[in-house]
Symmetry: C2
Subunit: 81 residues, 2 copies
């Protein structure tokens, strides 16, 4: 089983990296752009087959390591092989 974790900054948290991307896109001539935000995407391969146990385990990984829950949100998606 494959899990994908999306980690993004919470609304209201400054995102200078996203801002830099937005400014560079504007400098390249792209128009019609609103806010740009950059987050992380973490792909995990799991040997666990039980969906419920896998979700619990990945949630614990997010809380302990993958996301800083003070300033970041995370979302977990599963993909069956």
């Amino acid at each position: 089983m494959k899990a994908r974790v999306h980690v993004s900054l919470k609304t209201g948290v400054l995102d200078p990296q996203g801002k830099a991307i937005g400014l560079t896109l504007a400098n390249l001539g792209f128009t019609g752009l609103g806010e740009v935000r950059q987050g992380k995407l973490i792909e995990l391969e799991l040997t666990e087959d039980d969906a419920e146990a896998a979700r619990k385990s990945v949630e614990e990984m997010c809380e302990k390591l993958l996301a800083n829950t003070v300033i970041e949100n995370y979302a977990i998606e599963f993909e069956d092989d």
Copy 2:
């Protein structure tokens, strides 16, 4: 309209950051983990309403700035507000 761009390293490209995450998770006691890979998630707000035009524009952004297509793949997803 909101676009989400997932940028991930191509298969076969070394990912030391993903490896570090995998090792740390193992050190924290998580078992049953295979490969871990880290990518980027870029969220863009677009004023463009036409889905076809928006896709073309975001693809051009990926080719020009958001992804290094020599070593990275990208996937684009749209979300209507």
